[in-house]
Amino acid sequence: MNALNALLSIEDMTVEYTNQGQRFAAISDITIDIAEGETLGLVGESGCGKSTTGRAIIQLPAPTMGKVTFEGRDLSELNHEEMRQVRRRLQIIFQDPVSSLNPRRKVKDIVAEPLVIAGMKDATERERRVREVLEAVGVDPDTAMDRRPHQFSGGQCQRICIARALIMEPKLIVCDEPVSALDVSVQAQILNLLEDMKERYGLTLLFISHDLAVVKNISDRVAVMYLGKFCELADSARIYEAPAHPYTAGLMATIPDLSTIGADAGPALIGEIPSPLNPPSGCRFRTRCPHAQERCAAEEPEFRQIESGHHVACHFPLTEQGS
């Protein structure tokens, strides 16, 4: 993939876990670049490795194999202190905003914490920065600063989490399902806030979600994951109009809005995601794929480019079948 202005590039990254003595790959050999200033959507069902990818990027835990390069530096080669420096420009927002905030600390302490860790001694300067960032995310500093997280709604807690992520003026924010735990009306507010903050602070976002409708609106490009591997990567408009991978098409068919279902959209997905402990041979999606053939079981499809900027891991992409 072209990596001229990539802020973050992941090469052959594998994350392995041990479950009851058995090692298995939660994600295996994924390669992707995230360009500066873009929003990359990462979608897939629960357990496909989306969150693991996000955590591996911030090195918590670090990937088992492969390379994560951020601002031209390989993160696995950094020592402890260098990594701490890098962390400030590489932040994360989680799904559950209530669990992301320490229940026993005040909002001003929570938001100021990154500054304290970075060694800012001046308390008045810290308070000024906290006020500034709280105002930016739409939380009134005067009423919020001395309260504790449980006195806020989920949406407000997520705003506070965003404020905490922003206070060090990071380059990249990994958004791990940031709106999944929120009401639909609040989801839109938080998405708008993320867009505004992206513009104001010049951010690059990795937006992880299982909700395609949410990802569609916010992303420039969308990557679809299945069982620890990418199956499709394309511009947001392209992937929603003409999905090439049967899995993507199946996911599209699950979006309730009729107008977004393309002509090529296959039937809704059947069955459940296989266990990553024992993935199917060949193409990992073949057990649920309506177009599966013998070749799919024998040979693992390569993640190849079928048109400019459109990658797919399928022997029989839908766009080629249709033409």
């Binding site: 701490r84 992301s100 320490n102 229940p103 026993r104 600390r105 914490e113 990154p114 860790i117 905490r164």
Partner: protein, 300 residues
């Protein structure tokens, strides 16, 4: 307040009531401390106040023997009577409480400091640290506690400091377990990952993020440990390895009264009753606070 609590207690015991009422009463019951909690607290505070007041109120000397009034029942001079040596039992009970309370208020703190450190490290770092700590805790529990305490007090001398230290040693496993369990629970929360993503050190996460959360259930648990230390101190005194005579302690008073049981059963009965009420009170308070600070209940 008292009315509300008693009705909710009634609702819990009465099986034929309106279900909705019972449920709402239960929720209310969880928020309130309840009349039993306040009775228990009053007893502890009363004993504590009496113990402190021995320093400036004119209590009778607990060691002075009045041979003209041996084995007296209650009266104007000796409020709850005298023992077989003619010593004022009321004064002895209050002074004895002093020893029990000194042990009960200091030992758990030493045990808590060590237990918190061990338990939080085990719960946070997991892996080898966790295995190491569990081996340590299992070895402490493997010592028969009375035997070790007797040995230590015999060789090091039965001073109050040695007594406090030996009893503190036995509170370590309990605190370690509570601290470890709560640390495990909070260490999985995303605010800990967020702190690491900000570059916080392990020490900072342990002290700033985890300790304030783990401290609450551990502090509530310390009341239950206090009652355990009073029992252990009483047992050691009863066996004659506690604070040496003539200093009055509840355990020794019970053991001295055994010989006089047919003559004057009150010598053993009063300290037993005091110890029973004190332990019951501490358990009731500790149990109530533990339920209130329980993670499951508070995270709702």
């Amino acid at each position: 307040m008292a009315n509300g609590t008693s009705s909710s207690l009634f609702a819990r015991l009465w099986p034929f009531g309106n279900r909705e009422e019972i449920v709402s009463a239960r929720i209310e019951d969880q928020r309130r401390l309840g009349v039993i909690f306040w009775l228990a607290t009053s007893w502890i505070l009363l004993i504590l106040a009496a113990t402190i007041s021995t320093n400036f109120l004119p209590f009778l000397d607990p060691l002075e023997q009045d041979y003209a009034a041996v084995n007296e029942r209650w009266g104007a001079q000796y409020w709850v009577g005298t023992d077989h040596l003619g010593r004022d039992m009321f004064s002895r009970l209050i002074h004895g409480a002093g020893i029990s309370f000194r042990v009960a208020f200091t030992s758990p703190f030493i045990g808590m400091a060590i237990g918190l450190t061990l338990g939080m490290c085990a719960g946070y770092f997991r892996g080898k640290v966790d295995s190491g700590v569990s081996i340590l805790i299992d070895s402490i529990l493997a010592f028969p506690n009375i035997v070790l305490a007797i040995a230590v007090l015999f060789f090091a001398g039965p001073t109050i400091i040695n007594l406090v230290l030996v009893i503190a040693f036995y509170t370590i496993p309990q605190f370690t377990r509570v601290a470890r369990a709560n640390t495990l629970l909070y260490a999985q929360r995303e605010f800990v990952v967020a702190a690491r993503a900000q570059g916080a050190s392990h020490l900072r996460i342990l002290l700033r993020e985890l300790l304030p959360n783990v401290m609450v259930p551990v502090a509530a648990y310390s009341l239950l440990v206090m009652s355990f230390t009073i029992v252990l101190e009483g047992t050691l005194s009863f066996l004659g390895v506690g604070i040496p005579p003539p200093t009055p302690t509840w355990g020794r008073m019970i053991s001295e009264g055994l010989d006089e049981l047919s003559e004057n059963p009150f010598i053993s009965m009063y300290p037993s009753l005091f110890m029973f009420l004190t332990i019951l009170s501490l358990n009731l308070m500790g149990d109530r606070l533990r339920t209130m600070t329980d993670v499951k209940a508070s995270s709702l």
